[in-house]
Symmetry: C2
Subunit: 206 residues, 2 copies
């Protein structure tokens, strides 16, 4: 989880820990919680030792990396202004990290590897899935879809068994059903949007 978040973000732009934390929290969004320094900094050191990221010189002009279309421009600006003014002092207290080629490969692995995935991780995978080619991306979506239909089946199985659950359990199960159905519809939208013609349609009408 944490590795995916870090690699995905430093691939987009060189960052230091403190800023990284903010970005992760923002990326995960409200309800999926944040990330504490106590886990972030050790993770960064670990990734550095593993050669997935490397410390780079704090760059006054961070490279404009490829969000699809100059997105995050406001934040890039904010990041720039927050840099120490050029002549303030020689030493930098911040440690800015960039991704290595090993790190890029690892990022793709983290996005691709199968096995059951929790909500947070899947959300991050979606956010960074533009790093994959369409085939791999569709695999990601379809694997998730299969997982959800399995849950749906299990839910239905449970429902057939005990008919006389009490009020609140019944209500919870109904809501579970709703939630999974909603998630499936979202996935189907994501999958449908991968059809090339759909994609260009969408770009025509924003």
């Amino acid at each position: 989880m944490i590795d995916l978040a870090i690699l995905g973000l430093v691939k987009e732009q060189e960052l230091h820990g403190y800023e990284l934390r903010k970005r992760v929290a923002e990326l995960l969004g409200p309800g999926r919680g944040g990330l504490s320094f106590g886990s972030l900094y050790p993770a960064l050191n670990r990734l550095e030792r593993a050669g997935h990221v490397k410390a780079v010189e704090a760059n006054t002009r961070p490279p404009l990396t490829a969000w699809s279309s100059g997105s995050l421009a406001g934040e890039l600006a904010a990041f720039r202004t927050r840099l120490p003014r050029p002549g303030s002092r020689g030493g930098r207290s911040r440690k800015v990290y960039g991704i290595t080629s090993r790190g890029e490969a690892h990022l793709v692995e983290l996005l691709t590897e199968p096995g059951p995935t929790d909500e947070r991780t899947f959300a991050l995978r979606v956010v960074f899935c533009h790093r994959l080619n369409r085939t791999k991306r569709l695999e990601l979506f379809h694997r998730r879809r299969a997982e959800l239909t399995d849950r749906l089946a299990e839910l239905a199985k449970q429902g057939r068994g005990q008919t006389t659950q009490h009020r609140y359990l019944r209500s919870l199960r109904e809501h579970d059903l709703e939630t999974i159905t909603c998630d499936l519809a979202w996935l189907d939208r994501l999958i449908a949007d991968e059809r090339p013609q759909a994609r260009s349609e969408q770009e025509k009408n924003p």
Copy 2:
């Protein structure tokens, strides 16, 4: 979390660890994961030391406790049949737990105490909220509702900021919005159903 699950279940019926695990998994439902023995048994011992549960003699005829209307009857039967046949041998290898009055008080605390609550815990609280009076139950629902509207506000705030997020992040955010809205609608249904007249209406038309 684990304490809530254990106390809630043993309050309904005296149970041993192995069976308890199954019930918890079933209660949480697919997608919210299960509970390993490695955490369950230590938790039971801890709760026993704390006087929240006590080991009782394995009872061939478990007391019919108050699900609203003889629910879970099938499972009670299953539990009964799985008991060692009366004359098989004197010793029992299973340790059956029942709740104590201290445990009952603690259960209400766990259902009532404020502070941010994760999905699993809230689900369990809903399942066991029939242990609370209507006032406390409504407080539970309203606290959750407030939490969700906060998230909604934060989501809206984020959306106003960066207009040019890329495709997949935008899609994720839209889905987050959908999900929270759906959760809120569910809560509103739960809250509405607590109106006395609504409740009796519902009992008339099942």
